[in-house]
Symmetry: D2
Subunit: 186 residues, 4 copies
């Protein structure tokens, strides 16, 4: 039984919605236990009992939401000291208004999250371009849902992004099952 | 008289087109001399005689074109050793197929170019969101022209990106005029 | 009279110390007014009344401290909507334990801060390699003080980093004086 | 039998040396076939016949060597179009003069390489901080050998970096064996 933890912060419900769909994808893989939690509710035990962690964030000024960052600074920093997460599986996703022609800072936002996972010594699962929904709902590091139109008005998370999110969850659950008892690192 | 150098690499003419429009914008500022060159034709003297350098690249797999990189590794590295560019002005732009929902890797591509300019000690001019054309043709670090549709078919550089590019050139020429004789760094 | 605002978060006093030295450098430039504030005390008026903003952060898991991020998500986001900071001057610095051989994630940490400043449309002042203190106390985007030794034990901010920090403050104050009344952007 | 391909570019032999040690580590894992090639000698068949690819580069102005970039723009771009690498394993390493206190731009250099691997849909193997050699020879994304002293004089690749490199190769070979026949992605 592989365990997948989905962590999110959400302002208007968009990232929460995406988190739920990521979780749904993970659950669709046999023998997978999935927990979804808001960042402020995640403790060290949630992390250490998981085989894979997927974090989703709104994009704020080209970096992750401060509540995600607080979770990283407190919970993840402590686990880093103990080498408690190495060899587990990690992945990311985001939503955001996306003003402009290129994701509104999402790429560096996701890399900020991934820097944390690399520090923790976790395998990173990207989003292959052949994933359903990618062409309108994803980038190389994970699903991205643009949740506002070009005038900045709310538009919800696009169906394509949710499609990519569902598959992303599925990919991570499969990878967790393969790697959960492996001894790759010393 | 401020001098602006526009450097580009181009596969299908898209980045070249954007470079020409950036140059046009720079030229529209009084007392500005503008030179446009392909990366392989740029030598150290082109760089040291410029007050501002604007580099544009196609996005290839989430980083700059190798011809731009060769220019950086050879010409820019040599200038770095001599501290020959510090205090000058720098800016960037890009075009690319942009498969997916977030610029196809353009953000890290532009940051790769900017890392070079920071190493050289140059002031960075970003692209404010109020710039005409931004909402469909730019991101925080510069104009971005998505040159393929969602099926990957060629679509040229969008007018909005060219509009943003023209203003970007104008911004840089103005900044160069202000900073060209300043002594900000030791 | 140019006004420089230095914003910081600090865990053990290291980033605070660096912030004070950055401020000291800025003050050494004639006709400069300098304010130093912890991130949680900075409001919109502090930002809009400044000609330049310098932000310093501890490095936590390869990205900025959550208190800096909260300041960005709330104060800076609101100013972004209003285009209230464009054309001002920005710069960054950091301290951190730096476990490993390459800054412990400082580079992406500083780029996370700079993404915010680019979104706000502010000019970026890097740290030229010829700056005193650079060879042991800086990187291309700003001063970096490694505040722990290779065993992770506290070591304070190195003198070289403080030397670089002082000059960084000076550079930014000079750039602010040059650009404060300029009309570079529309 | 898992196959590992190590790709490098080298100016003074430092990255080549590191590549050979990465390869040695990979070979130490039973049933692993390892090939080491300079970037200009790598073709599509080398890539598609590998289960894992590890790329190493010198750091030049904060991004990868242009010969690595040419390999990415030509060989990897073509494989991206065909979805030919997805589900394989990827990792990175670097060497460089490292002027300054934080790796001389190595972090963004490695992320530039990783953006390519993410686009290809490959699993990323980071370098956990508990890896032997890490405290003086690595960062979160891979081994880093600072090959010059603080005056910029050649110093070779430090033993700690080579120790980390050997283990990195071992980690990747183990991960490749686990994932090579898996069906994680559609």
């Amino acid at each position: 039984m592989a365990r997948v933890l989905v962590v999110y912060a959400s302002d208007y419900g968009n990232t929460k919605k995406a988190a739920e769909v990521v979780a749904e994808g993970a659950k669709s893989v046999e023998d997978t236990d999935v927990v979804v939690k808001a960042a402020e509710d995640v403790g060290e035990a949630d992390m250490t009992s998981a085989d894979a962690v997927i974090v989703g964030t709104p994009v704020h000024m080209g970096s992750p939401d401060w509540r995600i960052k607080k979770f990283i600074d407190t919970v993840c920093s402590a686990l880093w000291l103990k080498d408690a997460m190495k060899g587990k599986v990690a992945a990311v996703f985001a939503t955001g208004g996306g003003f402009g022609s290129a994701g509104g800072g999402v790429e560096l936002t996701l890399l900020g999250l991934l820097n944390n996972f690399a520090e923790l010594g976790m395998f990173i699962v990207p989003l292959p371009k052949s994933t359903p929904g990618y062409s309108k709902g994803g980038l190389q590091w994970g699903p991205y849902g643009r949740s506002a139109n070009e005038n900045g008005e709310p538009a919800g998370v696009p169906d394509d992004s949710l499609e990519a999110a569902k598959h992303h969850g599925k990919h991570v659950a499969r990878a967790a099952a393969l790697l959960r008892e492996a001894k790759v690192f010393e």
